[in-house]
């Protein structure tokens, strides 16, 4: 049993450990370690294609995570007011959004967007006064939309759990003490759900930053970091790729750890 568990962990983490190790390889062969060097990090960061892909990824992750945090929180708050049956229904919808495979979300979003474009673009062309009507197409917007929608469900689930643990008592106590619903939200609810919103934001950011599948479907001609990595692997795995992977790994781990700490904090605070 112990051997089984060890081998599972080995299969899981050994490749990752190798990637990290080889990112520090001095030589350029990906299967032979010839000595420590940080040269590949320098090389990666001076690669303009890579840096612009990284910038795209950061911008997309930030925007989609912000949208997800705002709308996910609103959804979680709104669901508080639903009857038990409607709430169960929306709960199920959110849970479904999280378990639907990325491929399906990717294809579905692509099909939906293309359908919308084929409808909207001619209409725009008709009503546009100038010569060059704007053309809606795949690109940053579609990646942000796809990521934002998915992570909104994530944020809603996290924030909803926090709201549920607040209890209606303190909200009622606040309104008993002459606070209008808006003041109650500002002074009582928001300060207490803020860490969970932040946690949701970080998870959404990480998800978007790491996502390849959905972005691959809806990116059009744009490149995100994972798409760039995928494309350059076709030209062979270099330690430069390993360096990028290591950077992404470290950044993701940091973000997720922060999110976990935030969620743990809200839990222990409400557990009194």
């Amino acid at each position: 049993m112990r051997a089984l568990v060890s081998s599972v962990y080995l299969f899981l983490y050994a490749p990752i450990a190798l990637v990290v190790l080889f990112s520090f390889n001095a030589g350029r062969n990906a299967s032979e370690f010839t000595g420590f060097s940080a040269a590949w990090y320098g090389k990666a960061l001076s690669n303009t294609f890579l840096v612009s892909a990284l910038q795209n990824s950061l911008m997309i992750a930030f925007t989609s995570a912000t949208l997800a945090a705002v709308f996910g929180t609103m959804a979680a708050l709104g669901m508080e007011r639903l009857g038990p049956r409607m709430r169960a229904f929306f709960d199920a919808l959110f849970a479904a959004a999280i378990v639907v495979p990325g491929v399906v979300i990717g294809i579905a979003t692509l099909v939906a967007l293309v359908a919308v474009f084929s409808f909207v673009n001619p209409a725009l062309a008709m009503i546009w006064p100038g010569d060059h009507p704007p053309q809606l197409g795949l690109g940053y917007g579609s990646i942000i939309a796809a990521h934002g929608l998915f992570s909104m469900a994530l944020v809603a689930m996290i924030v909803k759990a926090r709201i549920a643990s607040l209890g209606r008592d303190i909200v009622e106590a606040s309104s008993d003490l002459y606070a209008t619903p808006l003041t109650t939200f500002r002074l009582i609810v928001l300060p207490q759900i803020l860490p969970s919103i932040l946690a949701g934001f970080l998870l959404a950011f990480t998800f978007s930053f790491d996502d390849f599948i959905i972005a691959f479907f809806v990116a059009g001609s744009k490149t995100t970091l994972p798409i760039y990595v995928f494309a350059s692997i076709r030209r062979g795995v270099t330690p430069e790729i390993n360096a990028i992977a290591t950077l992404v790994l470290v950044a993701s781990l940091l973000l997720i750890l922060t999110a976990r700490v935030l969620m743990r904090e809200t839990k222990s605070k409400s557990g009194e």
Partner: protein, 358 residues
């Protein structure tokens, strides 16, 4: 017509949740400055009544008045009442003084910050928590949190203070101390207090007015002594204090009650009730144990519980079953307690007997 001397008035108030009727057709008035206890078994609608006064629920039918003003449709934050919640409901992210000052800060026109903190500290002093203002809520013990909740409510000088089983979570000693504190606080402030409890001792000892509820209705409302001495029905007699109940018949024409074992008793003057089946109730302390021939009933002592100032006996009465008898120590010779197994006589004043229709 609502009387101006009533701080709270219910007129034909009902509350339904779907098919569940929590409160049905309650009418009652609570005079200004009274300490009223809502007493009743679990699920009888006490909390629901309180929440309708606080504004957290709207009645399905009828009207609720506070200080003579109709309150239907008025949200909680515009009502001149404050509530002490059972689980305290303190704001965990604010410190003690910020909790207490919360209501004052929401008042319009605004109160100056210096005045707010002066009044918050004054309220903390009143509940004997001076100097605790900067503590976090989770650094306070249960009893202290209870007092913060109390200070947070009274600092606003509401017309009515609502308390939903505020002492239920405290241990017995702390509870007794808080009961006394609450009572003196109420006298000091002159605010109407409405206390929900299902502890009858608490209700009797603290309030000027007890409102006994059962199954969504008010069964009896009156001063504690009246509730205890003249229960309106068998439910009140059973719920408030201990009783021995005996099946009986009211003899037609005759002014007598015949117990199930055939013993006849004179019917007390104030007991009405038509001939036929009835229930008779005795308080345990209205019965005395005797060894002479003045006894009305006879039985065998089965248990004796020594309570210090009094002794409680369980007596198996011939033909009637178990009786509870409380004997005051002063009326007994200490060396002369009845022993379990002893044959004993029971004597009581027929006027202490309550007769209810069966």
């Amino acid at each position: 017509m609502t009387s101006d001397s009533n701080d709270i008035e219910f007129r034909s108030v009902a509350k339904r949740y779907g098919s569940v009727t929590a409160v049905s057709d309650i009418s009652l008035g609570v005079p200004k400055g009274a300490f009223v206890a809502l007493l009743g078994p679990s699920g009888c609608g006490k909390t629901t009544c309180l929440r309708m006064i606080g504004g957290f629920e709207q009645p399905s039918a009828g009207m609720v008045y506070i200080g003579g003003q109709p309150m239907n449709g008025v949200p909680a934050y515009r009502r001149p009442v404050n509530m002490v919640f059972q689980q305290y409901a303190l704001f965990p992210h604010l410190d003690v003084e910020q909790n207490v000052a919360y209501g004052l800060k929401q008042m319009r026109p605004r109160i100056a910050a210096a005045e707010i903190s002066r009044r918050a500290r004054e309220a903390l002093e009143m509940v004997r928590l001076a100097g605790f203002g900067k503590r976090r809520i989770h650094e306070m013990s249960g009893g202290q949190q209870q007092r913060v909740a109390l200070a947070r409510a009274i600092v606003n000088k509401p017309k009515v203070l609502l308390l939903d089983e505020p002492l239920a979570a405290l241990d017995k000693k702390l509870r007794t101390a808080m009961q006394i504190e609450l009572q003196s606080l109420q006298r000091e402030l002159g605010i109407t207090f409405m206390l929900v409890t299902h502890d009858q001792e608490e209700a009797l000892s603290m309030s000027d007015l007890v409102c006994v509820m059962n199954a969504g209705r008010v069964v009896q409302i009156g001063p504690p002594q009246e509730i205890y001495d003249r229960p309106a029905n068998l439910f009140v007699a059973d719920f408030v204090g201990k009783t021995n109940r005996i099946a009986a018949t009211i003899e037609p024409g005759a002014n007598a009650v015949r117990l199930a074992n055939g013993v006849g008793l004179a019917k007390p003057a104030r007991a009405n009730g038509t001939a036929g089946a009835a229930m008779v109730a005795f308080r345990p302390e209205s019965i005395s144990l005797v060894r002479d021939d003045t006894a009305t009933l006879h039985g065998t002592v089965t248990h004796r519980i020594f309570l210090g100032s009094s002794v409680e006996y369980s007596v198996e009465v011939d033909g009637l079953g178990d009786f509870l008898v409380t004997a005051d120590r002063r009326s007994l010779d200490e060396s002369d307690l009845a022993e379990p197994g002893e044959r004993i006589g029971l004597r009581f004043d027929p006027n202490a007997m309550h007769v209810f229709p069966a």
